[in-house]
């Protein structure tokens, strides 16, 4: 594609720019760009921007949209932020004013005009509600902000050593990331009124002056990714964040992992899962190696063309935490052990089942001895470590280039030894930000949001079953879906185990989530579970179904999903005035229409 200079309305410089840009565009990018410009022309303000293209750096501030973020300990910053908002609004600007804790840092890239009002407290510390955003700007995830115009109003108390330190740091950080100051930072003392008023005036003048000019954001050439990552060729995703979602005093530990997909070209939809190749626990591998006669550095061929040391093979290739009957069968000829022979005698199937339950490779070696002439022979009985699939807990449109997981740490005691879940304990104990994890996307067509954003959804996700619904709501928020939504969540204790509590609270406040009911089984005297909450709201729940709501269940299959299924039939029966049989049919037909979807494990 080439630009015909004579037949277009651009001047030479613009034409040159476009000529350089256009050949680099893929088909998708061209389609996107034409749609983007067409849409932009419909709005008056952006239409004028098209008129005079000028590269970034001209210093102009075109947008009428201004975001004001405040970090406030005692309310002064909040008050000033609101005052600023009022003043700018009266001058025709569109203002979003938020506390830094309400602000989603991933939106930062989209902002053109940013005003920050922040106090410093204690010995140079940010206010509590500024902490997360402050840390984000100091993390490796902070983005380039070349399009950002900003100004900072810092509040402080000059009797402290680190006067206005937080404001200064915000100011400096934003500049370092490429932002342009639209007005200088003001540092205010306890009597801030006058200086703050002056700052607001200055910011206003600067914004007004900037509005006359305009800027053009040259479309950055997008990197096209050649490599296709897949289950066979997993992507090494960098860990960005690894948090325990359970508060102090909890019996549980649920990890929230944020992984970077940057440069992977991987994409997914809400409801999809992430496949993870975990690594075994080094301590357990060490114990196994101690039982073996071979040097850990002895090499074995794990598959054609893949030679590793014994230690590495046990660490990252073979499954060592689960015993299966085939493994026992394979070990038998390699080991002259009477007890094992006895155990594997026909008729002892129950005993075998009992034996392999909660036992691992180390138990097998300790109970019956190590087998094989060579290390190669020893590993020949083992199977490859299976991938773990986790329901994705984020939406790509809300967190581009990221994928979030919710993983419950598995720890239990069996046969006199502490046992650990392979992947969950890797996440809980060893995985640090900066480490990477081999991953791939596992699409799940059977767990998808309704096509129409208007359709109501009911979600039941106790424990880690909550994960996909965080993805659902992020997505619905991002696309501005109007459909109602209702979430049932349960766990042990309200105070410590209310996973993603702040997310739900914010969505309830903004209306993205219409309704939420929770059940905490160990808070009161009577054990309450999600299905009890469903039953308590049976009439309304049935009404939602009659209105066409989709019903989703995610989490434990054995107990929860089973109970939820039965309660659902009970509710349909009761509220629909149907026989059990008809109610079952009703549910089956929902299932057929993909209005009853489950992601259970």
């Amino acid at each position: 594609m080439q630009l015909q200079v004579l037949s277009n309305p651009f001047n030479q410089e613009q034409a040159d720019l476009l000529s350089r840009l256009l050949p680099t565009l893929t088909e998708t990018q061209k389609v996107w760009l034409s749609g983007y410009l067409a849409a932009a022309i419909q709005s008056e303000s952006t239409a004028t921007q098209i008129g005079s293209l000028s590269p970034k750096g001209a210093g102009g501030v075109a947008s009428k949209d201004v975001t004001i973020l405040y970090g406030s300990q005692t309310g002064n910053s909040q008050g000033l932020a609101k005052e600023t908002a009022k003043r700018l609004e009266n001058n025709g600007f569109n203002i979003t004013v938020l506390s830094m804790s309400e602000f989603k840092p991933n939106q930062l890239k989209k902002i053109q005009n940013l005003l920050i009002v922040v106090s410093t407290h204690g010995e140079g510390d940010p206010p509590d509600n500024a902490l997360t955003f402050f840390e984000y700007l100091h993390s490796k995830r902070a983005p380039k902000l070349n399009n950002l115009h900003f100004s900072v109003l810092a509040l402080g108390d000059s009797s402290y050593e680190f006067f206005c330190k937080t404001g200064k740091e915000f100011d400096q950080r934003l500049e370092e990331f490429g932002g342009t100051r639209l007005y200088p930072r003001f540092d205010c003392d306890v009597d801030f009124d006058e200086l703050a008023t002056e700052w607001i005036q200055g910011v206003l003048s600067s914004l007004k002056a900037g509005g006359k000019e305009s800027i053009f954001k040259a479309a950055a050439a997008l990197q096209t990714v050649e490599t296709e990552y897949s289950r066979k060729n997993p992507f090494q995703a960098e860990v960005l964040e690894n948090i325990n979602l359970n508060g102090r005093g909890s019996n549980k530990e649920t990890r929230h992992l944020e992984l970077s997909l940057e440069g992977s070209g991987l994409s997914f939809e809400p409801g999809d899962s992430l496949g993870v190749y975990p690594e075994n626990e080094p301590a357990l591998v060490e114990l196994i190696l101690n039982e073996l006669k071979w040097d850990p550095e002895t090499t074995v061929t794990v598959k054609q063309g893949d030679v590793r040391t014994l230690k590495d093979a046990l660490l990252s290739f073979y499954e060592i935490t689960i015993l299966t009957k085939p493994i026992l069968e394979k070990v038998r000829p390699l080991l002259s052990n009477n007890e094992l022979q006895e155990l594997l005698t026909p008729g002892n199937e129950e005993k075998v089942k009992e034996y392999i339950e909660s036992r691992d490779l180390l138990d097998l070696i300790r109970d019956f001895g190590a087998w094989g002439e060579t290390a190669q022979e020893f590993v020949s009985v083992l199977r490859k470590i299976p991938v773990r699939l986790y329901s994705i807990a984020s939406s790509l449109s809300s967190n581009p280039d990221e994928v979030h997981l919710t993983i419950g740490a598995v720890r239990y005691e069996a046969h006199g030894r502490e046992r650990n879940g392979v992947c969950s304990i890797l996440a809980a104990e060893r995985l640090k930000p900066g480490n990477s994890l081999p991953v791939f996307i596992q699409h799940n067509e059977n767990f998808k949001l309704p096509k129409s954003p208007e359709t109501p959804i009911i979600m039941v996700g106790p424990g880690t079953g909550i994960a996909p619904f965080r993805s659902f709501l992020q997505e619905r928020e991002e696309i501005g879906a109007e459909g109602k939504s209702w979430l049932f969540f349960g766990d042990q204790h309200f105070v410590t185990d209310f996973l993603y509590q702040l997310d739900w609270q914010n969505w309830l406040k903004s209306g993205v989530l219409t309704k939420m009911d929770v059940a905490f089984s160990r808070d009161g005297d009577n054990k309450a579970y999600v299905q009890h909450r469903m039953l308590e709201h049976s009439r309304e729940l049935f009404e939602w179904l009659e209105e066409g709501a989709y019903f989703y269940v995610c989490g434990d299959e054995k107990n929860m999903a089973h109970d939820v299924h039965n309660i659902l039939i009970e509710i349909i029966q009761k509220e629909g005035g149907m026989s059990r049989e008809l109610a079952e049919q009703y549910l089956a037909s929902l299932q057929q229409k993909k209005r009853y979807q489950r992601d259970v494990y």
């Binding site: 325990n244 309200f494 929770v518």
Partner: protein
């Protein structure tokens, strides 16, 4: 009384809290619905403002705040609940129930406050109603324990002059009851009372307060000389009992005290109350009501930090306020009578009262009744409450009197005191026994620095200096707060520390031992090392240079170390 004054409240738009009160339909707001939202222990700010009038407000464990935010969990919210006990008197049965409630629904500790009330911390939303109902079942309540109304009426628990005390206590109780808000909101929300029929505006009135209640909190206390343990000069309205030949003659009236101020804001300051006259005992309710209505009508409703009665008086003038009071009363106050205070602390151990009953005053560090690893204070008191037929009295210094013990019971209770080592205050320095700290971190939202968790540790270190200078038995009042709002009445401490930032305090010196003179800032924003080095110099000079029984607070002024504050208005000079 034909003299008419034209007085007026300060100009300015009403503060947001005034609007909340107006919209609340006599303290109901949306509290009932808010308390039923089970997705958060938290409640919205407007309802939290109203919660105060019901004796509670929402706090969170600040130690966990940023950790939980990262965990995507709401703050570790919990409600503080304050139980009114006029004069700080409760029965054994009431004590036992309160202590059990602290275990069942709060964080296990029962906090004795600087205003003779009980506080529990960390109550979850869904346990609030149960807790308040149980408190109601033992004939106590939490109504108006906080908020812009008259608070718990303080009263000297004076075990020395028993018959005067019981008489004065009755006045405290009468005042407390008389000045309670009349709204049924409390009973509807917490006690399941039927809603008042019809529109609240028509059906209800607040005869004293009106629908805006007071501009700010209002504190009343009654002192019985020679003890000024309730710090009568720190009260918005104080009464000093005048006793002659064993008979209560009446009360001197003192008005306009208050502790709170804001660091760096000279328009705010602590103030000592001034004596304006005398009234006979029967007039006390009338006087209190009229004074409250003056503050109701002329207090600052625009700027909350200038809304306390002390600012109203300083703005209008003491004489003008007195005249206005006399106008409203329709009679003139008598001349104030002579009185003499000699201390504002507590006297520990066994004391025999005039009626032959015994009273045991127990030092409770920072008022926190709980079991410590080597000190089973709470268990010990529970055992005592099981057999004690008298009552428990909270002192204004967060200590506890096991009161009205008969001679027969004294031995039995004494054995329990020994068994649980409750007399450990014997081993403390007089300085520690004269110490007081507010709660501060982690639960108080206003705290800028540690207080209750830190003062005992700091005193450990100060005691070494005390011992070096042979001052072990010198009573020196030492007070610490996490901010300048004044919960431990720090501006009346001979030595005081008010928090500025984690580990940093402003240091104050020079208050009077009897609570009649404010202290003044001596050093700004200092840490522990500087605190100790300052005290090392001060105590060694005091030990050598003091004259006779000169008090530390008086010494620092005579020695020229600090200037005397003669009035709150020159506190900042």
């Amino acid at each position: 009384m034909d003299f008419k004054q034209i007085l007026k409240a300060p100009d300015g738009p009403p503060s947001d809290v005034e609007q909340i009160k107006e919209d609340s339909h006599y303290l109901r707001g949306t509290l009932e619905a808010t308390m039923q939202n089970l997705l958060s222990v938290g409640i919205n700010d407007d309802d939290n403002r109203l919660m105060k009038f019901h004796g509670s407000y929402l706090q969170d464990d600040r130690d966990l705040r940023s950790e939980r935010q990262k965990q995507k969990l709401e703050p570790a919210y919990g409600f503080m609940l304050r139980v009114r006990a006029p004069g700080g008197v409760v029965s054994s049965e009431q004590w036992r129930v309160l202590e059990e409630l602290a275990d069942n629904y709060a964080n296990g500790a029962l906090k004795l406050t600087t205003r003779q009330s009980f506080q529990m911390h960390g109550i979850l939303k869904w346990n609030m109603k149960k807790t308040i109902q149980e408190i109601n079942s033992i004939l106590l309540n939490t109504l108006a324990a906080c908020g812009d109304v008259n608070r718990n009426v303080m009263c000297n628990p004076n075990p020395y002059q028993s018959e005067i005390h019981s008489e004065v206590y009755e006045y405290a109780k009468t005042l407390s009851d008389y000045l309670l808000p009349q709204t049924r909101a409390y009973h509807e929300i917490w006690l399941d009372e039927e809603k008042v029929a019809g529109t609240p505006e028509v059906a209800e009135v607040e005869p004293i307060y009106g629908k805006y209640y007071l501009p700010r909190k209002f504190k009343i206390g009654i002192a019985v000389p020679p003890s000024n343990d309730i710090d009568v000069f720190s009260q918005d309205l104080g009464f000093i009992a005048i006793v002659q030949e064993g008979n209560l003659k009446g009360f001197n009236i003192v008005i306009g005290g208050g502790m709170g101020f804001t660091h760096g804001d000279k328009a705010t300051y602590p103030q000592v109350a001034k004596v304006i006259g005398f009234c006979t005992p029967g007039k006390i309710t009338e006087v209190a009501e009229k004074i409250i209505t003056i503050q109701r009508d002329y207090g600052n409703r625009s700027v909350r930090k200038n809304a306390r009665f002390k600012y109203t008086i300083d703005r209008l003038g003491l004489e003008v306020v007195k005249k206005e009071l006399e106008n409203r009363l329709g009679w003139c106050l008598e001349e104030a009578r002579a009185y003499h205070f000699n201390h504002n602390g507590d006297r520990y151990g066994w004391v025999k009262g005039i009626d032959g009953n015994w009273h045991f005053t127990l030092f409770v560090q920072n008022g926190r009744v709980m079991d410590y690893p080597n000190y089973k204070l709470k268990t010990g008191l529970r055992e005592i409450a099981k057999i004690h037929t008298g009552d428990f009295r909270l002192t204004a210094n967060q200590n506890l009197i096991i009161a009205n013990v008969s001679t027969e019971k004294k031995e039995q209770i004494g054995e329990l005191i020994d068994k649980y080592g409750l007399m450990n205050s014997d081993f403390y320095t007089a300085l520690r026994r004269s110490s007081m700290a507010c709660v501060a971190l982690p639960t108080c939202g206003l705290a800028m620095a540690e207080s209750e968790r830190y003062l005992p540790v700091l005193i450990d270190k100060i005691e070494e200096i005390i011992d070096e200078n042979g001052l072990r038995n010198e009573e020196i009042t030492i007070r610490m707060t996490g901010c300048p709002n004044g919960c431990a009445r720090p501006a009346l401490g001979e030595i005081a520390f008010m928090g500025k930032a984690p580990g940093k305090y402003n240091m104050y010196l020079g208050a009077a031992f009897d609570g009649s003179r404010l202290n003044k800032m001596y050093r700004e924003n200092i840490g522990e090392e500087e605190i100790l080095s300052e005290l090392r110099v001060l105590f060694s000079r005091y030990a050598i240079e003091r004259e006779g029984n000169e008090r530390f607070g008086d010494f620092v002024i005579r020695a020229g170390i600090i200037k005397a504050v003669t009035d709150g208005t020159n506190f900042h000079e």
